[in-house]
């Protein structure tokens, strides 16, 4: 200790500090999620409010107790990262999930996915998504029941009402329609005719009226996780973040673009330029958790690559995985798993896309 005191104290670079700090970035992301939060409360009413509150409170409580009792260090609540994890996790949960399950997921997200690996900056997967994956594996049934928002229920829309309007049963030998997200219909279009195929989850119906379906998806009048339904609100928030230079444009655009391209190429209608063939990919990028995932989860600073080329690889990889899981997988939604899987490849991507050092001559030049 004494020898250290004698030394001149010089901090490592950068010596010029930007006003942008970890707490300010985290707060900005939280702010950017406000439109989506407002939309979710508007659509799902009290349920969204309760789930978000439970997630945020249990995330903060877990963070506080770990830092206070296990690490015995000053509180880290001030960097707002636990707050953000709580909000994002809540956005990834279906509205009818029992709140205590949300709390279990939050404890896992902060306790295992974040702090077991060393806390903010050391976690190798997105804690909120890890929490969601934990809940999906643990409580698969409640995690995959998506009901129509209360807002629309109050106006006489039920799942069956909705389905009569925009979804037409393919055959009459139906097992009944359950309220899945609009997503399963993608595989449904290609596979609906083989209604007995084992891969079919709840795919007995298929979308026929895109004019009715797309605006609903854009503004969030569909079943789904509480924060993912309204694409418009999410895009609004993302534009704010992009304007503040907190998220780059590469990951989200390439991610969504890849999904768009692949679903267009494999749209299942047998042609490429009919209106239906073009609407299938539009439908795919608006439905499910893609917007939320691509704009807010895949762009997480800690768990995405730092190099420009790496970001591109990351975005395209997420897109390919999402498409693969949606088209061939047993789960109705693949966004969370694709981002988690790509999170794991980040160290490798960063290592192989390290930019050339300026002024250094190539070995063989």
């Amino acid at each position: 200790m004494s020898s250290e005191q004698k030394l001149l104290h010089i901090s490592t670079s950068p010596h010029v500090k930007h006003i942008e700090t970890v707490p300010s970035i985290m707060l900005c992301v939280c702010l950017a999620l406000i439109p989506a939060f407002a939309a979710s409360v508007y659509l799902f009413r009290l349920k969204a409010l309760v789930l978000t509150a439970v997630c945020v409170i249990s995330c903060l409580a877990t963070e506080w107790s770990i830092v206070r009792f296990l690490l015995k260090k000053p509180s880290t609540l001030g960097d707002f990262s636990a707050l953000l994890t709580g909000i994002l996790l809540a956005f990834n949960l279906p509205p009818d999930l029992p709140p205590w399950m949300a709390a279990v997921g939050s404890v896992f997200a902060i306790g295992v996915a974040k702090w077991a690996f060393g806390g903010l900056g050391h976690n190798f997967v997105n804690p909120a998504l890890a929490g969601r994956a934990f809940l999906t594996a643990s409580y698969a049934a409640p995690m995959t029941v998506f009901n129509v928002p209360d807002f629309w229920k109050a106006r006489g829309w039920t799942i069956s009402g909705l389905s009569e309007k925009i979804i037409r049963p393919v055959s009459d030998t139906l097992d009944g329609i359950s309220g899945a997200t609009p997503l399963p219909t993608f595989s449904g279009i290609t596979e609906a005719l083989h209604a007995e195929s084992a891969r079919l989850v709840d795919l007995q119906f298929h979308i026929i009226d895109f004019q009715e379906a797309l605006p609903r998806l854009f503004f969030g009048n569909v079943g789904g996780c509480i924060g993912e339904t309204s694409a418009a609100a999410l895009i609004l928030g993302a534009i704010f973040l992009w304007y503040k230079h907190i998220i780059g444009i590469r990951v989200p655009v390439l991610y969504i673009g890849t999904v768009f391209l692949l679903t267009w190429l494999f749209n299942g209608t047998g042609s490429f330029f009919t209106s239906e063939a073009l609407l299938v990919p539009v439908y795919q990028i608006l439905a499910g958790g893609l917007m939320l995932g691509a704009l807010f989860m895949a762009t997480d600073m800690v768990t995405s690559p730092v190099t420009p080329k790496g970001k591109m690889i990351f975005g395209v990889g997420c897109g390919i995985l999402t498409f693969t899981i949606r088209k061939f997988g047993g789960y109705p939604e693949g966004v969370s798993y694709s981002i988690l899987l790509m999170n794991l490849t980040v160290p490798l991507i960063d290592r192989y896309t390290r930019p050339k050092i300026y002024g250094k001559v190539k070995k063989n030049a």
């Binding site: 279990v104 295992v112 077991a116 934990f134 594996a137 643990s138 409580y139 698969a140």
Partner: protein, 199 residues
């Protein structure tokens, strides 16, 4: 001496939790206490028998072919266990399934044969096989109890807590990794605490 040996097998050199040997069967069969205990007993039997034979014939086995010889001996005992289970414990055999034949490649057994039985006399090899098998079985049981209670709210196939909703992930592979990680972390924590207290 027995006490020290027991301590070595169960705590200081626990095959799963400290040496991290044989993790594959540990993950695969620690989904219920019945399976864990069954697997532990089967592996212990093979471990003791192979240790006995190997320590007896170590002088006659040439250095260059010792590993194939050990594997043949281990495989023999595994086959005996497998046939016996099939004939007299069909329920357990159905549960353990593929993992009984896989005891052959369980590195705990080959590891002890190579590291201990081939260098020590009969008595010590038997004791080593016994304590190591005990450590393996106990570790499996600890993991299995945690995973079975959390993952299916059951213990020995019977429900435990009324109203508790089990977390399925704990009987899936990821839950197995989490459980092993946490048990290892606890062991390391207490060990460090103990060592820290002594110095």
């Amino acid at each position: 001496m027995i006490k020290e040996e027991l301590k070595r097998g169960i705590i200081a050199e626990n095959p799963i939790l400290v040496l991290a040997l044989g993790l594959c069967p540990a993950l695969a069969v620690s989904t219920s206490l019945q399976n864990g205990l069954g697997m532990g007993c089967a592996a212990t039997f093979v471990l003791i028998c192979s240790n006995i034979i190997i320590s007896l014939i170590k002088k006659w086995i040439p250095e260059k072919v010792r590993i194939p010889c050990y594997i043949v001996i281990i495989a023999t005992f595994v086959t005996i266990v497998e046939l016996t289970l099939k004939a007299y414990f069909p329920e357990l055999n159905n549960q353990l399934g593929i993992f009984v034949p896989l005891i052959v490649v369980n590195c705990v057994i080959l590891g002890r044969a190579e590291a201990f039985a081939s260098k020590n006399n009969l008595g010590r090899s038997i004791i080593d096989g016994f304590v190591m098998g005990l450590g393996f079985t106990l570790a499996l049981c600890i993991l299995a109890i945690i995973r079975e209670v959390l993952g299916s709210n059951k213990l020995w196939g019977l429900k435990v807590f009324p109203g508790f909703r089990p977390m399925t992930i704990f009987i899936l592979a990821p839950g197995g990794f989490f459980t092993i990680a946490f048990v290892m972390a606890m062991i390391n924590y207490f060990r460090q605490k103990k060592e820290g207290g002594q110095s």
